[in-house]
């Protein structure tokens, strides 16, 4: 099976089939990344524009780099440009509910809504969390994609985590009580005790 780097070299020579294979491999991860990063607006257009840029720039791809890093870098740059455009409907951050919305039956899921939590993060921290957590990329890869030092990746991740913990605790009154009560807290953090209950 051809590697991504071999396929992009074939794309640089104009091979339709190589692009189809590469697209098939990366369609879902790229779509998921852009959905999480943008919150789901204009994702299909961004996916298309990312691939068109890939084809246009295929001749300049450095084979010493990983294709995935390059792909996410291009997608991220496009998504950032896209974010500079005004949204269709202005969103008031105060209206952002961190709990999951009711489903079709009207039932409200007791869990937190990941999309809303991510939306509550500053853009720079959100990109780091998505790439590190959802795409399981290493700190070096994330640093290469965002063009920042590795230490900055770590600090952004830590700030993001602190903010997420605060948001998760504040989002639910039961969790707030849990956080303020050491006995409940230990129980919540110990799955064995939860099972015994």
């Amino acid at each position: 099976m051809a590697s991504d780097e071999e396929l992009i070299a074939a794309v640089a020579a104009g091979a339709d089939e190589a692009l189809a294979v590469l697209y098939g491999r990366w369609e879902r991860p790229l779509h998921a990344f852009l959905t999480r990063y943008t919150g789901g607006r204009d994702v299909d257009d961004l996916v298309q524009e990312t691939w068109l840029r890939i084809v246009r720039a295929a001749g300049r791809f450095d084979p010493a780099r990983r294709f995935s890093t390059w792909l996410f870098q291009i997608a991220l740059n496009l998504a950032r440009d896209w974010r500079r455009r005004p949204p269709a409907e202005p969103v008031d951050p105060a209206d952002t509910h961190l709990m999951a919305a009711p489903d079709a039956s009207g039932r409200v899921d007791a869990g937190l809504d990941a999309a809303r939590l991510l939306a509550a993060l500053p853009e720079a921290q959100r990109a780091v969390v998505i790439l590190r957590h959802f795409h399981d990329l290493g700190e070096d890869d994330v640093a290469a994609i965002l063009a920042i030092p590795r230490g900055t990746v770590k600090s952004r991740l830590h700030h993001a985590m602190a903010r997420l913990v605060t948001l998760a605790t504040d989002a639910d009154p039961a969790r707030r009580r849990e956080a303020s009560d050491p006995a409940r807290r230990r129980e919540a953090s110990d799955p064995a005790r939860r099972r015994d209950r």
Partner: protein, 159 residues
């Protein structure tokens, strides 16, 4: 400010890769116990997050939009192969011309020993014309051969 060890413990929990000593640390650190409970909910929320599947129409749309760009890339690659072939073929041309001129001078010198100068000149010019025609045909065939070779290589690689 969170101590580095607490940061690392929480990060590993968020990423779902806890280390061996993390539980012992959480048992003794109140701040981490609070964070761990929240991280557990966060981790569950992240694990449950399923982004929508790309619509089936998206792949044909993207590939169709890329087709003209790929055709342009093919043309560009063919032009580059041709330029490289012509450049490589032109490299020995000065030497070929030099050798031909030298050979023609030698032939003319030899012929003038046996024939009148006008006849010798006529024979040498005829021979030079044949050489020039062969050279032109050879260099004229380069673009055709380069294009055929590039097409053959493309078909061998991509079917």
């Amino acid at each position: 400010m969170t101590p580095p060890v607490c940061d690392d413990v929480r990060m590993r929990r968020l990423l779902g890769h806890p280390a061996a000593g993390d539980d012992a640390h959480v048992a003794t650190c109140d701040a981490c116990a609070v964070a761990t409970a929240a991280l557990g909910h966060l981790w569950a929320a992240f694990a449950a997050d399923r982004p929508p599947i790309p619509p089936p129409a998206l792949a044909p749309r993207v590939l169709a939009a890329a087709r003209p760009l790929l055709a342009a890339r093919r043309r560009h690659a063919a032009r580059r192969a041709l330029a490289a072939a012509v450049a490589v073929a032109l490299l020995p041309l000065p030497l070929i011309v030099f050798v031909d001129v030298w050979v023609l001078q030698m032939i003319y010198g030899t012929l003038t020993r046996f024939f009148p100068a006008t006849l010798s000149f006529y024979l040498v010019v005829n021979y030079a014309a044949v050489l020039a025609l062969l050279g032109a045909l050879t260099y004229g065939a380069i673009p055709l051969l380069a294009e055929r070779q590039a097409r053959g290589r493309y078909e061998a690689l991509h079917g």
